[in-house]
């Protein structure tokens, strides 16, 4: 199907045309082939719905949006001035975090000291938010139906519209050099969380990104051979239980005014800041496994 430049432009604008690909509309071609009848009916329904909800609905939505923004704007006009040192938020809490944080937690990075020591309960909850998300995504996306009668998983057909990067020479060659660097950078960010910007969440996300790139370029089967479901389960189990136990030790000793065996060390050294470094590593592992399993579940419905 030949299209004029203008048509292509408008199709691209509507997200229906990717000029980086050779075939004009691989997605649409595949769809038409697969569900001609059903698809057509559903598109027809969508058009009807759009026509029904059309102009009036949109105008009402925009009006609501404007009123809502207006009300909030009137309120925030009275918020304290941006960037002023006299804001109510600049108080004794912030002063202690900055001035005594290094002595009390051993972390040079005040934010790391705050989230992993002063306000650690929030962060404990936060890593369990990730855990809950992994459970929910697994429930939804784990593909258990496509198994042969003898129980062996059947290789899934590649979904329409997904580009196979493993066949692309440029991507493959560049990634071969890039992936080790990403890994090293991730580990650096992870381990230096108490000294410089970074920490478990950002380092873990970088490591997860490297794993995802690996799986994309070298094929999921090769990635699955290295990072099996069992490994991921073990890592998540050990990291999260270490996190919960270590933090409950420090909560318990803190609340009962017991001496804690954890020393803060010399601030600025890599092996310092008490529990913050191991906690960062644990969080990093959890985040990395979470990102990787999200990718694998979305891509093919299972990790193995």
């Amino acid at each position: 199907m030949r299209r004029s430049f203008q048509q292509k432009l408008s199709a691209w604008y509507r997200g229906k045309y990717d000029f980086t690909l050779k075939t004009a509309d691989p997605l649409q071609a595949r769809w038409k082939h697969e569900y001609t009848g059903k698809e057509h009916k559903i598109r027809e329904m969508e058009r009807r719905e759009l026509a029904f909800s059309g102009v009036l609905y949109n105008i009402l939505c925009v009006l609501f949006c404007l009123i809502f923004i207006g009300v909030l704007l009137i309120a925030v006009a009275f918020l304290p001035a941006h960037g002023s040192p006299d804001n109510p938020a600049v108080n004794e809490v912030m002063e202690r975090y900055v001035e005594e944080g290094m002595d009390e937690t051993g972390a040079v990075n005040t934010v790391a000291g705050m989230i992993l020591d002063y306000r650690a309960f929030d962060t404990l909850g936060e890593s369990f938010v990730l855990f809950t998300a992994v459970c929910a995504v697994t429930i939804l996306m784990k593909n258990t139906k496509k198994r042969a009668p003898d129980g062996t998983p059947v290789p899934m057909a590649v979904k329409p519209g997904i580009v196979e990067y493993s066949k692309d020479n440029i991507v493959k060659t560049v990634s071969r050099f890039l992936i080790p660097f990403i890994f090293v950078f991730g580990v650096y960010v992870l381990l230096n969380g108490h000294l410089s910007p970074g920490g478990g969440f950002s380092g873990g996300a970088i490591l997860g990104g490297a794993l995802i790139l690996y799986a994309m370029v070298y094929g999921e089967d090769r990635a699955a051979a290295v990072f099996s479901e069992r490994l991921i389960k073990t890592v998540v189990l050990s990291s999260l239980s270490f996190y919960a136990l270590a933090k409950s030790y420090s909560f318990f000793t803190g609340a009962n005014h017991l001496p804690s065996i954890i020393s803060t060390g010399t601030p600025g050294r890599i092996l310092s800041a008490g529990l913050i470094l191991p906690l960062n590593v644990a969080v990093g592992f959890v985040v990395c496994c979470t990102m990787y399993s999200f990718y694998m579940y979305f891509r093919r419905g299972r990790i193995q």
Binding site: K38, E39, I42, M45, E46, E49, L50, S53, C61, V62, F64, C65, L66, F68, L72, L73, V76, A77, L79, A81, H82, G83, S84, P85, N87, A89, V90, V93, M94, E95, Y97, V98, E99, G101, M102, V108, N109, T110, V111, M114, I115, R119, D122, T123, E126, S127, V129, L130, A133, A136, V137, L140, M141, P197, F201, P267, V287, F294, Y297, F298
Partner: protein, 132 residues
């Protein structure tokens, strides 16, 4: 607090980050609530969250001060910005990643089942399913 409308405008112009974040919040909120397209709802959710995080993180900023990482042994609080909002935003971002992942997986499953992203169409198809 403000004697005239010009005063109010001047204050708002000074607080432009706050104004932008409120606009983002409102746009995201409306999209999440009223858009019929599920993917756009997810996009709206992320815009809304971004608006809140922008507002939160702008509250920690103080003109002319450094990031709260102790450098050169200076521990005077007058030298650094407020670290609390940064930490809270970190927490918030992780929450929003988790929520987005779940919403997207719901959307994928719904699309697999009903071949549509339009919420009204999905309702209609589901109600038809009920009757058969």
């Amino acid at each position: 607090m403000f004697t005239s409308l010009t005063d109010l405008w001047a204050h708002m112009a000074e607080n432009y980050i706050v104004v932008v974040s409120i606009i983002l919040f409102g746009v995201g909120f409306t999209t999440l609530l009223f858009s019929r397209n599920l993917l756009k709802k997810v996009v709206g959710l992320n815009i809304m969250d971004t608006g809140v995080y922008l507002l939160l993180v702008s509250m920690g900023f103080i003109d002319g001060r450094h990031a709260p990482i102790i450098a050169d042994g200076i521990t005077d609080a007058a030298n650094y910005i407020n670290p609390i909002p940064s930490g809270l935003v970190l927490t918030g971002i992780v929450v929003s990643v988790s929520v987005t992942a779940i919403m997207l997986s719901l959307v994928v499953r719904l699309y697999e089942k009903y071949h549509s992203l339009n919420l009204d169409v999905i309702y209609e198809l589901r109600n038809k399913e009920d009757h058969t």
